[in-house]
């Protein structure tokens, strides 16, 4: 029974991480880069209209960071469950 429990907890935590990270993934690309790009373009970041910058630069940087965060989170989860 105890064995079952850590497995369930591990999977639940993993799914939670995935959902949160994918929500951010959606917001930075589809949200800021496509759906709300026009209003965001009102804001300027140096020479960049912000929505345009998110679509052509920002979203990609966030993607890389999201994967790194996921790697870190899972490594921490492994440690918490005493996995080598």
């Amino acid at each position: 029974m105890e064995k079952q429990d850590w497995r369930k907890a591990y999977w639940k935590a993993n799914v939670k991480y995935v959902l949160i990270l994918l929500a951010i993934w959606f917001v930075v690309s589809y949200g800021m880069g496509i759906l709300f790009v026009e209003p965001l373009n009102q804001f300027k970041m140096g020479g960049f209209p912000f929505g345009f910058w998110m679509a052509q630069q920002g979203s990609m940087y966030v993607f890389v960071i999201l994967i790194l965060i996921y790697v870190k989170l899972i490594n921490r989860l492994d440690k918490k469950h005493n996995l080598k």
Binding site: S29, G46, F48, F52, F63, K84
Partner: protein, 560 residues
Amino acid sequence: MDLQTLTYIIIGITFAIYIGIAIWSKAGSTKEFYVAGGGVHPIANGMATAADWMSAASFISMAGIISFTGYGGSVYLMGWTGGYVLLALLLAPYLRKFGKYTVPDFIGGRYYSNLARTVAIICTLFISFTYVAGQMRGVGLVFSRFLQVPINEGIYIGMAIVFLYAVLGGMKGITYTQVAQYCILIFAFMLPAIFLSLILTDHFIPQIGFGAKLDNGQYLLQTLDQLHRELGFSEYTSGKKSTIDMFAITAALMVGTAGLPHVIVRFFTVPRVKDARSSAGWALLFIVILYATAPAVSVFARTNLINTVKNQEYATMPQWFKSWEETNLIQFDDKNNDGKIQYVGDEDRNELYIDRDIMVLANPEIANLPNWVIALVAAGALAAALSTAAGLLLVTSTSISHDLLKENLYPNLTEKQELLAARITAALAVGIAGLFGIMNFGFVAQVVAFAFGFSASTFFPAIVMGIFSKRMNKKGVISGMIIGLVFTASYIVYFSILFPEYNNADHWWFGISPEGIGFVGMLINFAVSTAISYFTEDVPQHIKDMVDEIRLPDESRKVE
């Protein structure tokens, strides 16, 4: 030394490297042939994945497409990078845990069915061959442009090189050549970009440069928008594609990327499950280095181009303009006979035709860089095309020798026979791909983009549901894949091949172009497969146990 000799020397050196690696890394077993022995370091695998992924289209055409479509080109930037997040979070670690060699392996095993495996094999062949034909053509084009070799001879040379390292070395040979190819292509792409950025904006980093001010104190992007308005083009930083089409294309490309068999298979080559995650991170980082530079190159090249030609006398055009005119990639037609170049948005008055590929290929000349940089760009374009072609050829040969022959038809095949079969099918695949390149179907370039639609509407739902749902059964997944593929293929064939005259927003369903229809195909696949599974038998217990097994880390890693 003249350009031609230099180009021969530099391409010769890179080819010598690839062949050297092929000989050094000859595969001795099927495991080495299919997944490089499963011992590739995650960073090396990241580089190999990046080279595998970035094709001639990424290297040569993408910056050009963005250059001409401005904000609208963002679909390729987000679409071709965002898929790696899906790969790292939803697919790669679990497929690595499953621990076999191919995508059809997973589909056949998880859905306890040889029929499902066969459908997956057909999808793999479908996707990979549509994709690889364009690559071989790309190899031929680069040869013909830079070395004045006829296109077909260029394709033969490319076939010979790929043959050497794919057939001899299998995945092991491909992996290490791809690492070398990544280094060559990224260097060749970044160097002209950095120089262009320095020339235009005094900034060393192109990503900063294209948001910076010009010498006259005005922002570069503002200047470009202004030029566009003046000439009657739509504004660079805001697009003309509809929001729903932007959304659908981006989604189809992202999901399609995550489902591409030649990309997925790369994650079978790392030693541990955790390496599959970090390797996806490295791969994306290496890809983003080029992808984040491309839109900067687009802006520099576009601004340079407009400033060079706008209302200028044709006679005063610089040397690079003339030399690209000879290849027909630039064409000038003086409609009003005033001797000046009118480059405007209005089709009737526009006098200049510019091929999008010029934006990358002519950059070193525009920026007055030395000849060896031009030669390097040629070598980089070849590296990009060859690495992708080799990766694709390997998955097609694996899906025949391993999935079809060994798993489905002749389970008694010995290791030695299977390895021989793998080499023979790899050789055959090289031949067929070359033939496709030589026959040059006019629609090939277009078809490459559609490979994503097929992969989005077949593999992605099948694999994700296989991992995240224990209720998905074989009937559901088989019907989902077939309906997804048939729907997407019909829509694409209807609009792109049968009735190109209807291929516009007025006739598209919901305003979604054929490029983005894979997204709808994916939704249909999810809906159909879920509904059918729900109304048919439950999944056998041993498969449910297997899914649990895939989801979780190894029990043996647990220390109490």
